[in-house]
Symmetry: none
Subunit: 406 residues, 2 copies
């Protein structure tokens, strides 16, 4: 398969309206077969509702970013949403800021912070400072806000994300974003210097260096969180919205900050985080209507259990989603897409490069008559293709693409 | 499948190390079904060892260069090694020079020579001069070295390759490489003129014209080899190494010059040519260790018999490789890739465009449970994809790619 993977390149074919699309994204749902059962979590799960729906769906496999590439959740979702993840690169700092509802503005430079532990020789002993509580994090941020003085024509913001994670935002004129991570990604060595990688980033690197130095002094008496590590520096440049690119008014239902932040970045409306899987499906039903054309329902549990190496936990989440599926079908979305943003095999306890199954259920789908939704069964008529192809297919199935050319 | 087919475009995801990769390339192994047996050579071959290993492997088909494109061995191998063969174009002259250990330097222009036979009207009667011996070739090269005088600010080299094949290298300032082949690729017509195809190649074309004229005079009294045909002119520009692009320290085990030359061009270490298939596998075992991460074992026999239209000869080579497979498996490579650089159906007695099977055996492979390694059985989860995708997959399976993006 090749061009146009990015359906926005044939924007003249975009219809002004069309049917409603639901993306049900089971984060990290793809996997590998378990040694004991000989099945993947999706194969193992008893899913009578999926089994019924997949039969009428067009099925295939998505290679989210590229062959062998292990997508972070950001690039994985960008691909699903029709944004080339190699063109739209999202730094961890920007995503962290968006994930806590921080009002990030064009030109802001954001970086993700880890509170960390260093020994008397400034060598990192714990990159997460023993996973301090969010409460401790808030106290540390207060300390730093009071202690640090940065001398520049602008403002800076330090915000707690959760546990050991925080975000630093520098706002001022002419701040480049290309600064090297100070997080060495390992222990036993000192943090790296925040080197500017372009001339435009020199002033930013200077500010960061000052920030780190003053933070070290301010945190010197802390028991565990006596240092900070920064990574994922990026200058915030807005991305064209889902509406601008595809004419879709979107709604995001997601519990985790990163997915809400990413959705906001793409111009989706974002509901308050649901407390549970049931609540998430309930919010979809409550908000399903004329105000939106595109609904993104994000399920984190599949990835979380995969990351924890908990095969059966992952199976249980899939089965829980299956039990909630009839309520979603009652809404009669014109297009239902079920897929994942990457694989997270429990046996690897990490993201992986393996393709994920996808099913598209719609009146115009060329149904494959497949009986189960999993990595092996879903080798249907959609074939195996890049994640970026999905949005074009979803729009087409929703009647949102006109004839291309005369 | 689309971007990034070329994994080097996401170089930030490259890990510093990882497992060892073995590429077992059966040259031209893909084919078509034989009229008598109704099987391809790969289908026909009895391969108990492959049968066992393929079961635990991820399988698919590779379209080496593009749909309908019939790859030469150079482009086919470049694709397998992760170099876009449409971007990295290798002339036959450069490959011939590298294949005989000629110390080719940046800016040298190389062309492949065939000693040929022409009649009294200068029409080609045999493009290979009756496949003269290498000894005759060496004598002819000596004659030409003594007879030809080229008037330019540089040096020229004429070297025997084997049989009717030699290589001409022009070394001097400002020599362009875009000169048209003089080999008409057929008999009954005179050789073509060495036309410059760019202004920069005008001086080169002049030198080549002088060379051809003086060579014709010098060889006029030869019984069969009374002319030369040149093709594959190219100015030599170094290619980034496998280590620079992918962090791989490579080792090549190949009997034929072209594959050794290509490997050297990509910065692989190259062992002395093995005398036999057994010796090649022996060299792999002898050299398997800490010094290299990537091992390329090239098997020529499959292609040779395919080119000769010898279906059963091709089957026999595949079966011979199968018998040697257990020794390779004993080395416990982290990733074993078995594939081909193109198809050479015996029924066509030539290279063809047909995709070739590929299998990737590794701990993290999403195994397809396929029972035989051939063009029809290997329709597994890897799908059908460009040859260029292979390197990303091999790196991923070796744990040599980090997560891409947050």
């Amino acid at each position: 398969m090749s061009a146009p993977a990015d359906i926005s390149t044939v924007w003249e074919a975009l219809a002004r309206d069309g049917g409603r699309i639901v993306y049900l994204v089971l984060d990290g749902a793809g996997g590998l077969r378990d040694g004991a059962s000989g099945k993947t979590a999706l194969e193992m799960a008893r899913t009578p509702n999926f089994d019924r729906v997949v039969r009428d769906s067009a099925c295939g496999l998505l290679e989210l970013v590229g062959p062998g590439i292990m997508p972070g959740s950001g690039p994985g979702h960008l691909a699903l949403f029709g944004y080339d993840p190699l063109r739209f690169r999202l730094g961890r700092g920007v995503l962290s800021a968006l994930g806590i509802d921080f009002d990030l503005r064009e030109g802001d430079v954001a970086a993700r912070i880890n509170f960390a532990s260093v020994d008397s020789e400034s060598r990192v002993t714990d990159r997460r400072a023993g996973r301090i509580s969010s409460e401790t994090n808030r106290r540390l941020c207060d300390r730093l806000r009071n202690a640090v003085q940065l001398d520049f024509d602008g403002e800076w913001f330090l915000e707690t994300v959760a546990e050991h994670r925080a975000v630093l935002v520098l706002r001022g004129p002419n701040l480049g974003g290309e600064v090297r991570d100070t997080d060495p990604q390992t222990t036993g060595v000192p943090p790296l210097e925040p080197e500017a990688q372009t001339d435009a980033a020199q002033p930013t690197a200077e500010l960061v260096r000052a920030f780190i130095g003053q933070a070290r002094d301010a945190l010197a008496d802390e028991a565990s969180a006596n240092a900070i590590l920064l990574r994922g520096f990026q200058r915030h440049a807005p991305i064209p919205s889902l509406q601008a690119r595809f004419g879709l008014k979107g709604l995001c239902i997601a519990q985790y900050p990163m997915y809400r932040g990413l959705s906001r970045l793409l111009g989706l409306d974002v509901v308050a985080p649901p407390e549970s899987l049931d609540a998430a499906f309930g919010l979809l039903a409550d908000n399903f209507g004329d105000a939106h054309d595109f609904y993104f329902l994000h399920v984190k549990g599949t990835d979380k259990h995969g990351e924890d190496g908990d095969f059966h936990g992952k199976v249980a989440v899939i089965e829980a989603v299956d039990r909630l599926l009839p309520g979603l079908l009652d809404l009669q979305p014109d297009v239902l897409v079920v897929t994942a943003d990457h694989s997270t095999p429990a046996v690897m306890a990490a993201h992986s490069w393996h393709p994920v199954p996808v099913m598209i259920r719609a009146a115009g789908a060329r149904a494959d008559g497949i009986g189960h939704f999993d990595e092996y069964a879903c080798r249907g008529g959609l074939g195996q293709r890049p994640g970026l192809h999905l949005m074009g297919l979803a729009l087409a199935h929703a009647g949102r693409l006109n004839k291309f050319g005369a």
